[in-house]
């Protein structure tokens, strides 16, 4: 993977949100370590998938990569340019090359803008297109690319269905001709039959335009479907990274195994056959993560030594990178799973928990 053309490189990225208290003067009483030291590389033209449960910091990572949330520490190198230290003006110019697709197509579109205005905004900001007609041509081509009819231009977001709205969101990102697209839960707010349309569209666009994707989702099946490489996050850090197929065939980290076994497969035979690894309890609070391996409180393979006091680094095993002290022994069956006592975790105060944005929004089920 080192010899390929790397478009984005993230080095030891950290995003810590202060937890503040106080009536008149805010004082910082702690930090939510939403992202706590992540290294990853995305090759040009490929898709990097990031999975994890809500609160694992995957959305924050995506935003920090695009400098929408200022990182606390670390570097983001985009095509040779370090973004974290870039002056605001130059960063704005760079934004043309990296765009974002949001989870909720309704809330990510300004309800008072019609589609034409939504698509023109970015063009105007970056001075793309000579005059109105040229812009109209660019917008028209983009609409074709995402499969929206021309009459959509004069319409407003609320007049479209969920899937069409997501297409508008994709068009907005695409119209600037970006190289990187960060898609944060691009399909989780959509109905099943619509999800597939959008997934196929993303695939198609990548083939035609050579886009590079960072796809962030909680749905492992979706991520595996569109990604070349998948990174699994747990409590602000990567626990495993592997090529898509290898991750499914040979999950090395205990958390990946548990996650994999928890995803329901629409096939009764598979469902009946497989063995579930049920994790005990909930995700610990990212404000007060466990010492040592962050997963050891829920890990069925946790060992009394090392796991509790030494935080495992990502290390290469074959084509994968794994942050587990005992990955080889678990793979060979040397270390056996055991029962885990449930530890109670408190949900963080809603208002002070900026990273819980990736919870799957339910498809509206009432009428």
């Amino acid at each position: 993977m080192t010899d390929t053309d790397i478009l984005v490189e993230v080095r030891d990225l950290k995003v810590h949100f202060p937890i503040t208290k106080g009536v008149i003067f805010d004082r910082t009483v702690g930090h939510v370590k939403a992202v706590d030291g992540v290294d990853l590389r995305i090759p040009r033209g490929k898709t990097y998938g990031l999975v994890g449960e809500s609160g694992c910091g995957k959305s924050t990572l995506g935003r920090a990569l695009l400098q929408l949330t200022p990182p606390t520490a670390g570097e983001v190198v985009f095509d040779g340019v370090e973004l974290t230290t870039l002056p605001a003006g130059r960063l704005r110019t760079m934004r043309r090359r990296m765009q974002m697709i949001f989870q909720d197509p309704m809330s990510s579109l300004d309800p008072r803008q019609n589609v034409e205005s939504i698509l023109t905004e970015g063009l105007q900001t970056h001075g793309i297109g000579a005059g109105r007609d040229d812009r109209r041509r660019i917008i028209g081509e983009t609409l074709d690319a995402v499969g929206l009819p021309r009459w959509a231009l004069s319409r407003y977001p609320h007049e479209f269905s969920g899937g069409q709205r997501q297409r508008i969101g994709i068009a907005r990102a695409l119209v600037l001709g970006p190289e990187l697209i960060v898609a944060d839960e691009p399909v989780s707010a959509l109905d099943v039959s619509i999800q597939a349309q959008v997934v196929n569209l993303l695939d198609e666009l990548q083939d035609n335009l050579g886009l590079t994707y960072l796809v962030i989702a909680h749905d492992l099946a979706v991520v595996r479907h569109i990604s070349d490489v998948v990174g699994v996050m747990y409590l602000g850090a990567l626990v495993e990274e592997a090529p898509s197929d290898r991750l499914y065939r040979e999950p090395l980290h205990p958390y990946t195994r548990a996650l994999m076994s928890a995803v329901p497969v629409p096939d009764p035979d598979v469902e009946d056959r497989r063995e579930r690894i049920l994790l005990a309890g909930d995700l610990p609070s990212p404000a007060n993560p466990p010492a040592g391996c962050r997963f050891h409180t829920r890990c069925p393979w946790a060992q009394p030594t090392r796991c509790v006091d030494e935080r495992p680094a990502l290390r290469e095993i074959g084509a994968s990178r794994v942050a587990c002290h005992w990955a080889e022994q678990i793979a060979s069956g040397e270390v056996r799973p055991h029962k885990v006592e449930v530890q109670v975790t408190r949900p963080l105060d809603e208002g002070e928990n900026p990273q819980v944005v990736s919870a799957p929004t339910e498809p509206g089920s009432y009428v």
Partner: protein, 320 residues
Amino acid sequence: MTIAPGKKKQKIDRLAELAARDDERGVSLWQEAFRRLRRNPAAIVGAAILTVFVIVAVVGPLLVPFGPSDTIGIREGLIRPGVIPGADGDHWLGYDHQGRDEFSRLIVGARQTLLVGVVSTLIGLAVGALIGGVAGAAAGLGGRWGRWLDSTLMRIIDMMLAMPSLLLAVSIAALLGASLTTVMIAVGVVSVPVFARLLRGSMISQSNSDYVLAATSLGVRKPKIALTHVVPNSLAPVIVQATLTLATAIIEAAALSFLGLGNPDTAIPEWGMMLAEAQPYLDIRPGLAVYPALAIIVTALGFTLLGEAMREALDPKLRK
């Protein structure tokens, strides 16, 4: 249950037509809100009341049969101690205690009421929206300095909110001396904190929305985002509040007049003042108090009905 082939063909054609979709223009949120408003009977009633009120206020004074300060009753010797005559053929609502035509005074008073209501609400809206807008923009988009500016402005607003509104208005009126301008300023100032808080809150919640993040990721500058996205989307509740404030402004202006802090120019009738003047004659002619009171109530009701209907029409949660 079988259908004639011709009809079936029609249906298939219709299906194809539907797939091709027509080319009509989109409906913006405002247009859709207006459509919903038109379907709401409360809005229709409110709008009808207000239309009548505005027409009366604008053209009424030109058409009234008698001058509002023409003391016909005294001239003709109809007013004697303990006697205020009621309605007769020419004077539909009778005379007031000075023998002036009550109906003409009510009509001419409408203009005064409308003027005070609209101007004071505009004062409150302008000042409140300015403070709230600055605070909201500072809090939603700014960094450390933005937060500081926002808290400072909001503490000032909190202090204003802590004072009872009528007391605040009375103090301002007493401080500046009684005049029409004073009434407008006093009533306007009272509604400043309401508008400021509303716009700020609305802007902050809009600033946290995904489309603001999307605009940021497009590379749009922060001031432009505030002006083109945040403010327009925060205005709906402010407009609703303005309509509702018109009702309270009218009532408050009447209250100030009632307390003798209104327009000192007694030549121009005003509903609150008429109400105050009618007080000593409640036992002889209760109608003198009832008519202006009814006028105030109905007008305020009109604004409230329309305001509530607008709130419903603009509420995104009620959208299908």
